[in-house]
């Protein structure tokens, strides 16, 4: 019996620690986030990052393709709560189209693909010189004098852009997105992290709803950048 209890305690500790390795530091209360909701003992705080906030928070280029939402879950302290990306849905308030969070690996691959491109560089150039010496024009037979020559031109260089498009870059991006992502697993402690939603529609909406089902409880939060 003692052995069973020990194994149970160890198992619970391991499960609880699964959700605490990654993510961000949760704020002291859910209400400290720009948007929050609570249902029973479960509380949820969320913040939709602006493009500028995304740029400042991530080395990975995300703002063009993904809506980044920081989410904090505050579970009921008396029981374990299973947290997973699949619990969340982002819905456009205008069109009712919805998306689920993308796995960091897929986000990193997308960012790597979009990092390619071409750089165009313009090189203006001017030249000046003096030619001395004697020569004769074969047609006229006249002696040719030396003189100053001048030139002006412009060169246009086109090359591949070497920005975050290697396999190593993709691995680093995946690592960053995973480490900053919402921790998944069972937890009794508050956890927080980012979720990466592809935009539900091509034209970015100015208002979204974050829906979340945790422990059989559905929470809905209105989000604005």
């Amino acid at each position: 019996m003692r052995r069973l209890v020990t194994m149970l305690v160890l198992g619970l500790s391991a499960a609880s620690s699964l959700a605490s390795d990654n993510g961000t530091v949760p704020k002291s209360e859910a209400s400290r986030y720009p948007a929050s909701a609570e249902q029973g003992e479960i509380k949820l705080g969320a913040s939709l990052l602006t493009a500028e906030q995304v740029r400042r928070s991530f080395a990975t280029e995300l703002s063009r393709s993904f809506a980044v939402v920081e989410v904090a879950v505050y579970p009921d302290k008396s029981s374990l709560l299973e947290v997973s990306r699949s619990n969340f849905v982002l819905r456009s308030a205008n069109t009712d189209l919805s998306t689920r969070p993308t796995h960091p690996r897929a986000v990193a691959a997308n960012s790597q693909r979009n990092s390619g491109g071409r750089d165009v560089t313009v090189y203006p150039s001017v030249g000046i010189g003096y030619e001395s010496g004697r020569a004769y024009d074969p047609e006229t037979g006249r002696e040719r004098r030396g003189g100053v020559y001048t030139s002006a031109g412009v060169g246009v260089g086109v090359g591949d852009r070497q920005v975050a498009n290697t396999e190593r870059d993709r691995e680093v991006m995946e690592l960053e997105l995973t480490e900053k992502g919402l921790p998944e697993g069972s937890t009794q402690k508050p956890v927080a992290g980012y979720l990466y939603f592809p935009y539900p529609e091509k034209k970015k909406s100015d208002a979204y709803q974050l829906e979340c089902t945790l422990g059989g409880v559905k929470l809905v939060i209105a989000l604005k950048p």
């Binding site: 080395a59 000046i128 006229t140 031109g153 991006m173």
Partner: protein, 187 residues
């Protein structure tokens, strides 16, 4: 002739202005982080050499002397060609052959940059717990793509910690405010 002299002076001034506008700071010698337990951290400043590309060149050339071989020394030129380097100037018309004139000022391939702003400048910088130098020495760090634990420690015990992610060709500007407490700063 007077016109040509004035033109020459003007073009020399223009050359200096253009050259200074396009010139970047000369990179310093490489600095290696010492004592890295994993042996894979390298803090270095790379020479900026841009290689590769397609150049389309056009311009105007003029010679003040008398005609030669029956052709005047002026006219427009256009020359599309592939060259990994700067174009050379060939003053007698004709082709613009490839030459070895590397243009400085471009980031090293496959590396990312961290620009570090912190006070005091004498504070020590550690990358993955390996001493890398002082803030003064490491205003600009070039690193292989990867995740690094950056730590800055002042002489008064104030410190700054952050996990940074370096991607090739990207610059991360880090304004580090050293605090007395040893808390982890959220990215």
């Amino acid at each position: 002739m007077a016109h040509d002299r004035w033109m020459s002076v003007l073009l020399i001034v223009l050359s200096v202005v253009v050259a200074s506008a396009f010139a970047d700071d000369k990179p310093d010698a490489a600095k290696a982080a010492s004592g890295d337990p994993q042996g894979n951290v390298e803090v270095a400043k790379k020479s900026r050499i841009r290689i590769g590309g397609i150049s389309l060149t056009g311009g105007y050339s003029r010679f003040s002397g008398s005609p030669y071989w029956g052709s005047p020394y002026y006219g427009y030129y256009a020359s599309p060609y592939w060259s990994p380097f700067w174009q050379t100037y060939f003053p007698y018309g004709g082709p613009y052959p490839m030459g070895f004139y590397p243009s400085l000022g471009q980031p090293g391939p496959g590396m990312g940059e961290i620009k570090l702003y912190a006070e005091p400048k004498t504070a020590s910088v550690y990358v993955n717990d390996a001493y890398a130098g002082t803030v003064e020495d490491l205003k600009s760090m070039w690193l292989e793509p990867g995740a690094y634990n950056l730590r800055i420690e002042g002489t008064d015990g104030a410190s700054f910690r952050q996990r940074v992610y370096v991607l090739s060709g990207k610059t991360l500007k880090l304004n580090a405010g050293l605090t007395a407490s040893n808390r982890e700063v959220a990215p």
